[in-house]
Symmetry: C2
Subunit: 414 residues, 2 copies
């Protein structure tokens, strides 16, 4: 049974959000920037319109608590963006949650059930790692916030919270047992759906992300007077490791394993100085922790080889290991049933290569995720886009799945 | 015939200069910083003590014009340092010039001859390329200074000149025919002298430096959701070129050709984003312009290969080509004769792999350069050093060569 949404309203909301921090056809709305705070206030106004008692908490999460009901589903995503990046990344999931709340909470058929909406601060990691959803789930200490620094401008998160008027606010905490689960929608950010002519993806697992820093130590010297034979060029050593990884990783990888050197810094980085140090940020993602462990071993092996063969020292340091997060089977089934109703035959189950707030909530309660297609698979770039038609289809699938999950629960509890 | 110097005075001067901007056992004295300006004033005081009428000109050069004489030799080097780098790089040549002026200008045997001392601003290229000596030789326009930006903090050179109180001062210009030539001493900055157990190097040629920027254009995308097969990783493309250069350049190089990737920048440089762009600063140095041209062709070939084979575009841009500068044969002979007297059998003729102000003066008049050994060949690093004994031996060779050149000229003109 379909619970009809208002597709025009969904698109209008998303286009309004795009105006806040607009950059070319995308947005620049980093965490706790003026534009981000404006987008939080925008959501507060929309939630007030459906009597959802919205608040912005002490870490910049928006929560819309609904009327007292027996059965509640939590739904949401994030409103900040990567720098100069896509307009739908995060915003789509928040607007879908808002639309589901509008349709379901005001529907007499659901008077004992509601969708509550959340927008989780800093999913994009300007200050940390999924800080908003982790804070809501009780996994962020005050000292982690004290230490959090903006990766673009090195500003303190505390100062940004104060500037946003949130310094004195308390942080909301998830009330145990309040929700039947968490539902999130997101743009796919890859080209799997589009290249297979599909309209919807039901997420099975959110991949684990294992992040490393590789440090190279050579010897800084003059680029004109130091003979090639005696150089210890840390930049060249780092470049060689990138190429060796590119050669060796494919043989050990799973079918969907991905790995990336996102940053490479040569020190001191002057044209006439042989780099004495180099630092490489490297990450591996897979939905299977055994594959992650295998790739990690290979990385350590390649770095040890580089160190042994010289002339520079190389050392790898593990920065962060998030484990793959499984989505709840019943939530997957609800999304699949709704997708089959709206886009018959044009949906698939698939892992998420990107991290999402849903992976945090999956540790607390059943969680599910829906993907809509990304045009050309483009993401974290202002060119990111999804067709209006796909946006509306996705919103309908999302609301239907939310409604079905609530109905199932009402049937059990009645 | 030796014209005896005061070795203790030379060392005292150098140790005094090291106190100005001291960093570990080196100095941090970037161009037009407070510390650099203090070092210029230090030199002004020393030159006043020998009635040299010193001035600091509008680009931060110090010039000590001596008494009216018929025969003059210009000698000097620079007082600013690379960031957190060596204490002798530049300072040694200035103090040698000062000592030669003290010994020769006050010596009755030379009453018709003098050494005039110069300290040339920004040889180290904080704001540009050999700006001080090029300004003195009439090769720097006002608009070049308008555009000059500090490579470390992006501050304008105009603002730095104003802060140093030099904004209203005019720039000094070389008076045609005033000097019989230019003499400069410098630490070798390589390990050739030390590893061959030599005490002095007579520079034959200052190498040409050809500087390039290689730009890679891939496609910025999400590091979790973009399959390996469809990636266009500009960072990986840059790393591959570094390794290919390391493979191919040795076969085409001359015995002393050197090449360096000093900086590699991945854009946007975030751990979870596939770099869409990469920029590589690359330079080649050789004393032979035919070798430089051959290596340049090879670079263009390798970049074109990288561009053709994809998946990223690669393009090379030439930033700057300084041609090798030959030192004057008579100046080389004078330095060699003096070296043979002071350190018999322990000197050699050799090219300079580093750029120096002498290469600018070589375009205007006969020029010569003397090298003293660098311990361990270390340069552009605060560990740079030379033994006290070698410093004093070098000062004696330098003053003797200056005296011999002036004597030769006096003999011709009398």
């Amino acid at each position: 049974m379909t619970t009809p949404i208002d597709g025009t309203r969904v698109l209008r909301d998303l286009y309004e959000l795009r105006k806040i921090g607009e950059y070319k056809t995308g947005v620049h709305r980093p965490s706790l920037s003026n534009e981000h705070v404006m987008s939080l206030q925008w959501l507060v106004e929309r939630l007030k319109a459906i009597d959802a008692e919205p608040i912005i908490d002490g870490i910049g999460n928006v929560l819309g608590y609904g009327k007292p009901t027996t059965v509640k589903l939590l739904a949401g995503s994030h409103l900040e963006s990567q720098n100069y990046a896509g307009w739908l990344d995060g915003a789509l999931g928040v607007v879908y949650a808002l639309e589901a709340a509008r349709v379901i909470n005001c529907n007499d058929a659901f008077n004992a059930a509601a969708v509550e909406v959340g927008a989780w601060c800093d999913e994009e990691g300007h200050f940390g790692h999924l800080l908003g959803s982790r804070s809501f789930c009780g996994d962020v200490t005050e000292s982690e916030i004290d230490a959090a620094i903006n990766r673009t401008d090195s500003g303190k998160m505390r100062d940004a919270l104060a500037k946003a008027g949130l310094a004195q606010k308390k942080r909301e905490r998830l009330e145990t047992g309040r929700y039947i689960g968490y539902l999130e929608a997101h743009v796919e950010q890859g080209d799997w759906l589009e290249s297979n002519d599909l309209e919807a993806g039901v997420v099975t697992t959110i991949v684990g992300v294992w992040q490393f820093k590789v440090n190279f130590e050579g010897f800084q010297n003059h680029a004109g007077t130091t003979r090639m034979a005696i150089r210890k060029d840390a930049g060249l050593a780092a470049a060689k490791l990138c190429v060796t990884i590119d050669d060796c990783f494919p043989k050990a990888a799973g079918p969907r394993t991905v790995w990336t050197t996102g940053r490479l810094t040569l020190d001191p980085g002057a044209p006439s100085i042989i780099p004495g140090k180099a630092e490489m940020l490297f990450q591996i993602r897979d939905a299977d922790s055994r594959v992650l462990a295998r790739m990690e071993s290979l990385l350590y092996e390649l770095v040890a080889d580089a160190d042994r063969s010289g002339p520079c020292h190389a050392q790898v340091e593990s920065l962060r290991k998030s484990q793959p997060a499984k989505m709840d089977e019943r939530f997957q089934a609800a999304l699949e049933t709704a997708a089959e109703r709206i886009v018959p035959g044009k949906h698939t189950r698939m892992p998420s290569g990107a991290g999402h707030d849903a992976q945090i909530f999956a540790g607390q309660m059943p969680a599910g995720m829906l993907f809509v297609p990304s045009i050309g698979g483009i993401s974290h770039h202002w060119l990111e886009n999804t067709s209006n038609e796909d946006i509306v289809l996705g919103a309908q699938i999302f609301t239907d799945a939310a409604a079905d999950l609530l109905r199932q629960e009402l049937a059990v509890s009645s």
